[in-house]
Amino acid sequence: MSERRLPPVTELGVVSMALIVAGGITIAASLPGDVALGLPVALLAASALVMVANVVALARAPGFNRAAFFGVAKWALLAYCVIAGILWFVFVHDGTRGGVLAVLTLSLVVFAIHVPLLIGFTVARYQ
């Protein structure tokens, strides 16, 4: 059975998700008082960077089945936008505003993009 190399998308996805979760925990553990945003912003930036690296690596991967990837990822994206939207609604409903809301919103954006990317990748690699 011949095999072609693909970038370590799943491993990078785990790292990116772990960074996002760590940032979210840092914020949640400090509420409702003043939240120091330095660490959460750094974790968010690192997570977004890993996600961009993942997207670029996947876009450049030769022989990767992009049609299968997009066929799956678009529906997963829809589902995870709904989930992220509900979580965002809870934060807004609770009166979260300003920098904290911005970091949480961007974290949910990374989450809602990266999970469908991982699902699409795992399916498409075997197609």
Partner: protein, 205 residues
């Protein structure tokens, strides 16, 4: 465990050997989507109403089911699945996994969204709460489970179903992905034991 994950694309052979027979199935059971939609609408209504009973219902019911599912899949069904003959494993997988694709994200969303709102209502998520360290521990446990479930378990679950949809599914690919499913289900099951300890401590003060 992660190191053992495949990082190569494996082209399916023209005629996969010993392809197991499998029943026809939907990867996402479309009939279940209206039910999921209704549950999520009820969840949003409960959060908007901000009533203790409604939030408690969603958090306890969805959280209890989430924990039960993870413990059952990780410690009961997972090991059984690993020892079943291939045709039996395929039969069970095509009936179980599509339902899990709808059930698990719905339970997790309901548990987390209602749990956060409940915590705001009761003051248990505030940093001055007497058991704050236990609350932070619960965030960490949920965070670890989320990373494993979303980045490893769910993609493997979906990929198994797509493989089984092929006219000649490759048993090697299915076996590899099922191994991922069984191991990660075991880890999340173990994390749920920590959830039970933390939540019962918080509930008793």
């Amino acid at each position: 465990m992660l190191a053992s994950m495949t990082d190569v694309a494996v082209p399916v052979p023209a005629a996969a050997p010993e392809a197991p027979p499998r029943p026809d199935f939907e990867i996402v059971p479309l009939r279940g989507i209206p039910i999921v939609g209704a549950v999520l609408v009820a969840l949003v209504a409960a959060i908007l109403a901000n009533k203790l009973w409604a939030l408690e219902f969603f958090h306890v019911a969805a959280g209890g089911l989430w924990t039960s599912f993870d413990l059952f899949l990780g410690f009961v069904l997972g090991p059984i699945l690993g020892r079943l003959a291939i045709p039996a494993r395929v039969e069970l997988t095509t009936r179980l996994m599509p339902k899990l694709l709808l059930i698990m994200p719905t339970l997790v969303t309901c548990t987390l969204a209602s749990g956060w709102q409940l915590g705001r209502l009761l003051g248990t998520v505030e940093s001055g709460y007497v058991n704050h360290s236990w609350i932070v521990a619960s965030y960490i446990v949920v965070g670890v489970m989320a990373v494993i479930a979303l980045a490893v378990l769910e993609p493997a679950n979906v990929a198994v179903l797509f493989e089984l949809k092929k006219p000649r599914p490759d048993p090697q690919i299915i076996g590899g992905l099922m191994k991922r499913f069984i191991y990660t289900a075991g880890i999340t099951g173990a994390m749920q034991v920590a959830t039970l300890i933390i939540m019962t401590k918080i509930a008793t003060g």
